[in-house]
């Protein structure tokens, strides 16, 4: 496949909730092996945009291309089947089950079938889960540990491991560093770097600008359902933060000219 073809291309995505225009025509491009930071204030449309990409919301208007092929996502499972994995903010883990069970939740590997019952291939799943943890350098003593006994950072790691388990094309992480200790945050960011080193394409939604700064190649800033900036991440952190905040609060807007006719129309 052509490396120049973006993994994800979203064009002119619009989504309304009753009278609220959550997304007013957003374009987003994610290239191969790129980490894209998605930032913006509350209600800027970050999560809505990612829910459109992960199939949870169906957009009112706009097109989505995955590796150049146009797709109509109907639900999260459909999105997952074509390689779009979402790491939810609340992680969507079953705390009563062990690490392996959570990594393979809903996609258990079956060794044979007895009538309608699929018999699980537990050992191969455990090995695979262990391999995933090793690959991402995740520090969990055993894949047989119940998730309820893991720390916040370890749980985040399990959720990320699950997203990478099935040849995903793009991994979306919704606030992966929220509610984590400083040490755990740095581990999660290391994991993102590790994934990138292994060739993954990642979108990170985050409130924490320093996290976006430290792992992203490029960033998109949303404000009130519109893209107001799309640029590579570069420069000095303080200057970066100051500039980004200016966009987030609406003091600056790179796409103001394009937006006005759309609003008028």
């Amino acid at each position: 496949m052509d490396e120049a073809t973006p993994v994800v291309e979203m064009r002119n995505i619009k989504k309304n909730f009753a009278a609220v225009q959550a997304l007013r025509g957003v374009d987003l491009v994610l290239h191969h092996n790129e980490v894209l930071g998605l930032v913006g204030d509350n209600a800027a449309g970050k999560s809505t945009l990612m829910k459109v990409l992960s199939g949870a919301y169906i957009p009112d208007e706009g097109e989505i291309f995955i590796e150049g092929k146009k797709v109509h996502l109907t639900d999260p499972l459909h999105a997952r089947r074509i390689g779009i994995e979402m790491v939810y903010q609340d992680l969507a883990l079953a705390n009563n089950l062990d690490v392996t069970a959570n990594v393979f939740l809903g996609r258990e590997s079956v060794s044979n079938r007895i009538g309608p019952l699929g018999v699980m291939n537990t050992h191969s799943m455990e090995q695979e889960a262990q391999r995933l943890l090793d690959r991402l350098k995740i520090d969990i003593p055993s894949v047989r540990l119940l998730v309820e006994r893991l720390s916040g950072g370890q749980r985040q790691a399990v959720a990320i491991a699950r997203a990478t388990a099935f040849n995903s094309k793009v991994i979306i992480m919704d606030e992966p560093t929220a509610a984590l200790s400083v040490a755990a945050i740095s581990k999660v960011l290391d994991m993102v770097r590790e994934l990138k080193a292994q060739g993954a394409s990642i979108i990170i939604i985050s409130h924490r600008l320093e996290d976006v700064y430290s792992v992203s190649d490029r960033m998109i800033i949303l404000r009130q359902g519109r893209k107001v900036r799309d640029c590579p991440v570069a420069g000095d952190i303080d200057e970066f933060r100051e500039r980004v905040v200016a966009y987030i609060i609406g003091a600056r807007d790179d796409f103001a000219q394009q937006a006005s006719p759309a609003v008028a129309g």
């Binding site: 969507a92 009563n96 069970a101 939740l105 258990e108 079956v110 007895i114 019952l117 699980m120 047989r144």
Partner: protein, 393 residues
């Protein structure tokens, strides 16, 4: 590994071991208090038969509670279906081989009806099954209105609740002992030990941690001894009853489904976090239908076992069984919060409650005291459960 570390590694299992120890303690205490009458072959045989229908309900109830629901309708559903079976045999002159499958299917359909109310109409299970409790109570009185108690004459049907597996006449090594039961017991122990060693070997080859060898051996010896003891006692009376065989088959089948199959994994995932399960492609609705459907099926089986045990269907059959089954499940370590609960320990819970009834009856304790003792045991079991759970997390 130091003892301290060993204990720490075993924290997960302490809850379960505690339950086995409590059961053995109850048996020992009653055996001493009744001068051995409790542990006699005849009493244990009767105890197991009398517990069979509650045990079957407790198995189904475990999964219902695991997915965060409750089913109050199972008692009168079982009673009603037992009565329908009796009517089918006596008045419709249906063959027993037609009656039993028919009743089981009716039970499953009743369970699916409950599931429809819960999963589709979004009615809380407590309310939906309370309606079922009322409805089946009425239905039981309705179907038995013209007849009162219905005597069942079919010998095959009655054998399910009162009969014993046949012995081979030719083999009579130990007089007065049911050899087939002994052979089954020995095979069970052999299979158990083989299975445990095999799974330990596999675990080691995959480089996962295992129980320390000394604890592993103790576990093998204790459980083998318990199986051997029960086998010996049962073999001394009339051997293994069909009701016991049915309960064991149900427990083994459900344990297998719960622990080894995708369906079982999904049931526990829905119990642990329904939203996460749904997001990961597990249909919560499908699981709910399955679990309530199986509960209905097992209610029918309980109804059959009970009516066959009594050789008749009565107008009050099923009264309070739902609460006995729920109590058995909670004593067996099922968590109200959902997602946690094992099938074998629910059987153990049913046996604990059944042993209490049997033992206190032998001691001729008043009913009032019996209820209070059971209340204390249930509360104690749940307190123990909550306390050990807190420690581990």
């Amino acid at each position: 590994m130091s003892l301290r570390e060993t204990l720490k590694a075993q924290q997960n299992n302490i809850r379960e071991y505690g339950m086995y120890i409590a059961f053995v303690a109850i048996v020992v205490i009653f055996s001493i208090a009744t001068h051995g009458k409790f542990i006699s072959s005849r009493n244990i045989g009767n105890l197991v038969n009398a517990t069979s229908y509650i045990a079957v309900l407790a198995v189904g109830m475990t999964l219902v509670i695991v997915i965060r629901h409750i089913d109050l309708s199972v008692g009168f559903l079982a009673g009603t279906l037992g009565a329908v079976a009796a009517i089918a045999l006596k008045y419709w002159h249906l063959s027993v081989f037609l009656t039993i499958p028919m009743i089981l299917v009716m039970g499953a359909i009743a369970g699916l009806l409950t599931a429809f109310l819960v999963a589709q109409m979004k009615i809380p299970a407590f309310v939906a099954t309370l309606a079922g409790w009322l409805g089946y109570h009425g239905l039981l009185q309705l179907v038995t209105a013209g007849t009162g108690t219905i005597i069942i004459a079919d010998t095959f049907y009655n054998a399910l609740g009162t009969g014993y597996i046949p012995d081979i006449k030719q083999i009579d090594i130990i007089p007065g002992i049911h050899e087939v039961t002994l052979i089954i017991g020995v095979l069970a122990i052999a299979f158990f030990i083989y299975g445990e060693i095999r799974s330990r070997r596999i675990t080691i080859t995959y480089h996962f941690e295992v129980q320390p060898i000394n604890l592993f051996v103790i576990k093998l010896v204790v459980i083998s001894a318990v199986i051997a003891g029960i086998t010996w006692i049962l073999a001394g009376y009339q051997g293994l009853s069909w009701a016991t065989v049915i309960v064991l088959l149900v427990v083994m089948l459900y344990t297998y489904i719960a622990t080894r199959t995708v369906t079982g994994r999904h049931i526990y995932a829905v119990g642990g976090n329904p939203e996460a399960a749904q997001l990961n492609g597990i249909s919560v609705k499908r699981v709910t239908f399955l679990v309530f459907g199986s509960m209905g099926f097992l209610s029918a089986l309980a109804g059959i076992l009970y009516s066959s045990w009594l050789r008749s269907a009565t107008t009050v059959a099923g009264t309070g069984w739902e609460l006995d089954a729920i109590a058995a499940a909670f004593v067996g370590g099922v968590s109200v919060a959902g997602g946690v609960g094992k099938i074998p320990t629910s059987l153990l819970g049913a046996l604990v409650m059944g042993s209490l009834t049997s033992g206190m009856n032998l001691l001729a304790w008043d009913n009032s005291i019996q209820y209070i003792v059971k209340a204390l045991v249930l509360t104690g079991a749940v307190i123990f459960d909550v306390a050990t759970r807190k420690k581990t997390s």
